[in-house]
Amino acid sequence: MLRGVLPGAFVLIFLLCLTSFTVALAVGGGPKGTTIELAIYQAFRFEFNLGKAASLATIQFGLCGIVALLAFLVPLPKVGDIGLDRLAHQFGARKHRRLDIIWISGAAGFLILPLSAILFRGLGGILSLPGQVFSASITSLLIALISTGVCIFLALGLSLSIAYSRLNTQKIVEGISVLGLSTSPLVVGTGLFLMIFPFVNPASLAIPVTAFVNAMMAMPFALRVLIPAVRDIYNEYLHLRLSLNMGRGIWLMRIVFPRLRRPVGFSAGLVAALSMGDFGVIALFASPDLQTLPLILYRLMGSYQMDQAAAVSVVLVAQSLFLFWIFDRGGRGHTES
């Protein structure tokens, strides 16, 4: 079982690392720590060499494309069935429980330790944060909400038409996750910048462009949740619908949408949280007077104001969690099942 899953997991993780940008930017910087993603950013920000940025983006895209192609040859593991309503049953899992706990807490440590470091250091500083953090948090919220709306709207439409078709859902979902991972926000951002640049000042479109790109980037996550959910509804109730002669409008409004509330809430929460914390496109487009939380965070770190940076991180994490919680909660409604 594991052998079937490992190559796919390897590819997914590889793609994720290949397109990661934020951490390299935050801790790296020197020529040794440069990645292609980072080089794109530098070509933009420091040299404003659009040609170079475009070539770098092409290289990055090609590289990811090759890996993605390879990925189609190996079976990908199923991820993203998380958090719907079925719990996986464990068979004879008790024996390995202790070992599992050690492994999982070890892995969680990678997340929890930095997070608690931030909390420890940043919590006290929240009240003394400058006022611009407040307006930045509103901007971030705005971007997150727009991209959530766009993403869910498009993802719902796609999921519905896929459910109607006789296509192999499993394959589509796999393909989408590879595609989503192999295009990096920075590459898409570069493309959009090049398209917009001759006509308007990209900085004036920073918010809509960022919201849109974030929506696209979060789409695979939303689709991974929504496609199976819609497909389930069709599998389970299509015959009942047909036998009752129920029209398409009623079917969507009274059956499909109400039943999709939970997965839509959950995926909207994911998209909102992702978009809230995104630091890719905005880095290319933002003018100095536009502030989002991740941007402020980066600027504070750049000037070594670590205590304030930690405080902004706390705000960012809290806001992302809160947004996720609101959406997910809204999807659950009154029914606790």
């Binding site: 389970e236 109730y237 015959h239 009942l240 047909l242 036998s243 009752l244 002669n245 129920m246 029209g247 009623i250 009274r254 059956i255 109400p258 039943r259 029914t335 099942s337």
Partner: protein
């Protein structure tokens, strides 16, 4: 009781395909007949039911109702279906789940509301109209399904092992209720079942479906007392 002579449902050398599987059916169903559909798994019982429902189009031949070809749309066929599961929409209350049977909008006229109430009374669930399926037992859910069938008053009822998940006592109860409903609506019924006892309790005739062939309905007692080879193999020594 032996059903009347008037044929209402007619399959003439009708062939249905589902993937590689093909089923040929050639039989008539007379008005008021109660027919058990029996046979081994994979023999084509569900395919037959899907074909009559309209979920599956015949590749050759036709499904005739009172001599005329039936509509291509399952919802326009003169029949009601009780599925094995997924008969009720889980997020709709019992009243809405029944209402959807006569008006998919779930907006009923006063007269229809009264009819729906009566149907719930008949199956003993008048207290449960506002409940949701998750609050009901398996038997009660079956009753809601039957209430909808009663309300729809279609002349043909198709049942796809609807009570197979229920215990013996509950199953008997549901078969009894079904029988009352069929008496009331004077409908004909075809029921797929795995249980030979259920088949005998429910039906006066049985259709044996095996190896891609749906046989003519036969009187159930004589079928079981003198089983053809395919049926013998299926029921073993129990008959």
């Amino acid at each position: 009781m032996i059903a009347g002579d008037e044929d209402i449902l007619n399959l003439k050398q009708t062939c249905f395909r589902q993937g590689k599987f093909a089923l040929t059916a050639n039989f008539e169903v007379s008005k008021g007949a109660r027919i058990a559909i029996i046979g081994p798994s994979g023999g084509g019982k569900s395919t037959l039911l899907h074909g009559i429902s309209g979920f599956l189009k015949p590749t050759t031949g036709q499904v005739l109702w009172e001599g005329e070809p039936m509509s291509d749309h399952p919802g326009e066929r003169p029949l009601s279906i009780l599925f094995q599961d997924h008969n009720l929409f889980p997020h709709l209350c019992v009243a809405d789940n029944i209402a959807v049977g006569i008006n998919p909008n779930m907006r009923l006229s006063e007269e229809q509301i009264l009819l729906a109430k009566n149907a719930l009374d008949q199956v003993g669930l008048s207290e449960k109209a506002a409940d949701f399926p998750r609050d009901l037992s398996g038997g009660q859910r079956g009753r809601v399904g039957l209430a909808r069938i009663l309300l729809r008053k279609r002349p043909l009822i198709l049942l796809d092992e609807p009570f197979s998940a229920l215990g013996p006592a509950l199953k008997d109860e549901m078969l009894e209720l079904l029988s009352q409903i069929l008496d009331l609506t004077e409908a004909s019924a075809l029921m797929v079942t795995h249980d030979t006892n259920d088949a005998i309790r429910f039906g006066d005739q049985a259709i044996l479906v095996a190896e891609g062939l749906a046989h003519e309905p036969q009187e159930i007692q004589s079928l079981f007392s003198n089983p053809p080879p395919a049926l013998k193999e299926y029921i073993g020594d129990r008959a």
